[in-house]
């Protein structure tokens, strides 16, 4: 199955291999393609990726009236996926960032434009949860035991973590930076990809029951449909 991945940035969907920002690029990197391939091994290597920012809106007005940005951009994604890049499906992931209605309208809008199987993933509150929720993989990668890792973020509900949270113990990016420092690394794309590659999907589904859980289930449904 050839998939077009859409996400917020490089941590989600990787980045182009070339110096020139060629869009879309082959989806070999990023947390989402790695996790998605764990759930659906049949996702092809030539699957593609781009960011929401690449789906530029060039007009405030469209034929059926104004709709919210993400809904419209999902429309762009499904159309170019099917019509330009020969993809079988779109996997669209966005950080919730506290906005509870994100992507809610997107599905209806997208279907009205082009019939392409689309899986929507909402990272709650942000994509960092999909790394911090993979405690076993994270502990192995940084070379500490689970109890030691637990000491760095004892709060178990990673879907409450947020980069700009008022509570220091919930600031996801700061926590990831500290954890990466345990093995003298930075919280980088390569760091997150390594954790994603080693992630136990079932563990992550349990850790992120509102975000990654439904996303993984939808991905499995997609693979059943395509089979």
């Amino acid at each position: 199955m050839k998939v077009l991945f859409v996400g917020d940035g490089a941590h989600d969907v990787g980045k182009p291999e070339t110096r020139f920002h060629e869009v879309p690029w082959i989806a070999l990197g990023g947390v989402v393609p790695h996790l998605a391939r764990k759930v659906v091994p049949g996702i092809r290597e030539d699957s593609l990726a781009l960011t929401w920012g690449d789906l530029a809106r060039l007009s405030a007005v469209q034929g059926s009236g104004r709709v919210k940005d993400y809904a419209r951009k999902v429309g762009f994604a499904v159309t170019i996926a099917a019509r330009r890049y020969g993809c079988d499906a779109v996997v669209a992931v966005v950080d919730r960032d506290g906005e509870k209605s994100r992507l809610v309208e997107a599905e209806a809008i997208a279907k009205a434009i082009y019939e392409v199987p689309t899986v929507y993933g909402v990272a709650i509150e942000s994509i960092e949860a999909w790394t911090l929720g993979s405690r076993t993989a994270l502990a192995v990668h940084v070379g500490v035991g689970l109890p030691a890792l637990h000491g760095h973020y004892p709060h178990s509900r990673v879907e409450e973590f947020y980069a700009t949270s008022g509570k220091a113990e919930l600031r996801s990016k700061e926590i990831l930076a500290r954890v990466a420092g345990l093995c003298h690394q930075r919280d980088s794309l390569a760091f997150r990809e390594a954790v994603a590659q080693a992630t136990d999907v079932a563990e992550l589904e349990r850790a992120c029951p509102r975000g990654f859980g439904p996303f993984a289930a939808a991905l499995r449904g997609l693979s059943v449909v395509r089979a």
Binding site: L58, Q62, S64, F76, T79, R83, R84, C87, I113
Partner: protein, 385 residues
């Protein structure tokens, strides 16, 4: 109005047919053939008033101009529509610069073919003689106009007039700001350098209402401006000043150097619309140098010129653009997608002919559709998996 152009073996246009509207927008990648289409019209227009050897010299010689420098003749076939009349004209040029011409006139869709290549050539020359007397020699022994009905002559005359002297405008706001000396004609240089002269010619002409109409149109397009004045540097050079709206009995003017690029461009397009210079307007990349917020103003100005809302009457406009933002203001009927294949040359498709265009336009504006899908996916539809 030029309604159809078919060109063969002209640069990258191996065999291309383009249908035109009162306003047509050509879109496509660099090197797809948009400019060649405009130039094919321009060069054909040149043949109406200048000797063939002069038009097709240098880089325009058929040996250089032809598709892949092959020896096949270059040919043009145009269809123009006016009222109930359809005029067809065909010109073929070979490497030795010998030409063949053919014309026919359809009236109420019935075809009256009055073609007679050699006689017609002389008739054509006699028309051109009136425009460029030094360039032509007329065979007085065999006046060709005996061959044609008076009605045909009038139709031909008007059709020729529309195509004469067509610059391919690529207006540069800095060039538009330059002072210029009066010139005998009221033509605008392709980059816009002679705008003060063109305005001077219009304002000093017999019809005083032109100035009023032009200034009213300018004010309608840019409400902060009320009018124009031409300031003399010396006896022979003038520059443009804008009169600000709301400045009462003592007009406040600003030099064109301080006016916006959009104001200069709209002024130039309006000057073209109100000038008596003949022809379709061929405009390349009108978005150049413009802030995106001004694109709508420029496009609407050109649209109103094409409908006759601005100017002395409807004037056909053909635009080549690289701007999806400009394209957002066009309708699907007005857009032509220009693509180029290495083996078969340039191809042109109507956006309105894309089978699922209405469904696509539910989610995209016209500019977004082009930007996100690109030309091939747009025209060819769903790609093979």
């Amino acid at each position: 109005m030029l309604s159809r152009l078919r060109v063969q073996n002209f640069r990258c246009l191996r065999d291309v047919t383009v249908d035109f509207e009162p306003l047509t927008v050509l879109i496509g990648k660099n090197d797809s053939g948009k400019t060649s289409i405009l130039d094919a019209i321009r060069v054909l227009g040149d043949t109406m008033s200048r000797p063939i050897p002069e038009v097709f010299s240098g880089v325009n010689h058929p040996e250089v101009l032809s598709w892949r420098r092959e020896s096949k003749p270059v040919s043009w076939e145009i269809t123009t529509d006016r009222d109930q009349h359809r005029f067809l004209y065909h010109l073929q040029l070979d490497r030795s610069l010998s030409i063949k011409e053919r014309r026919s006139l359809e009236v109420d869709l019935s075809v009256e073919d009055v073609s007679a290549p050699e006689k017609y050539r002389r008739y054509w020359s006699s028309l051109a003689y009136g425009l460029s007397p030094e360039l032509w020699e007329i065979d007085e022994d065999e006046p060709a106009d005996e061959f044609y009905h008076e009605k045909d002559r009038e139709e031909l005359d008007r059709s020729v007039h529309e195509l004469l002297n067509l610059p391919r405008y690529r207006l540069d706001p800095d060039a538009l700001r330059r002072p210029s000396a009066p010139r005998p004609d009221t033509l605008l240089d392709a980059s816009g350098r002679s705008l003060p002269s063109l305005l001077d010619g219009l304002f000093s002409g017999a019809d005083a209402s032109i100035r009023t109409s032009l200034e009213q149109s300018l004010h309608a397009a840019i409400p902060t401006l009320r009018g124009l004045s031409l300031l003399s540097f010396d006896d022979s050079t003038k520059t443009i000043e804008y009169v600000l709206a709301g400045s009462g009995k003592r007009p406040i003017t600003i030099p064109c150097e301080n006016a916006s690029d959009g104001a200069l461009l709209v002024t130039a397009y309006l000057a073209l619309a109100y000038s008596d210079a003949p022809g379709t307007l061929l405009i390349e990349e009108p978005e150049n140098g413009l802030h995106p917020s001004l694109l709508r103003l420029v496009f609407e100005t050109l649209h109103k010129i094409s409908t006759g809302e601005y100017g002395l009457g409807p004037r056909q406009v053909i635009i080549a653009t690289q701007s999806p933002l400009l394209l957002n203001y066009a309708t699907k009927e007005e857009v032509r997608i220009v693509r180029r294949d290495l083996e078969t040359g340039t191809h042109v498709s109507r956006l309105a002919d894309v089978p699922d265009i209405d469904r696509l336009l539910k989610g995209f504006s016209v500019g977004e559709l082009w930007y996100h899908l690109g030309e091939d996916a747009l025209v060819e539809g769903e790609t093979a998996k």
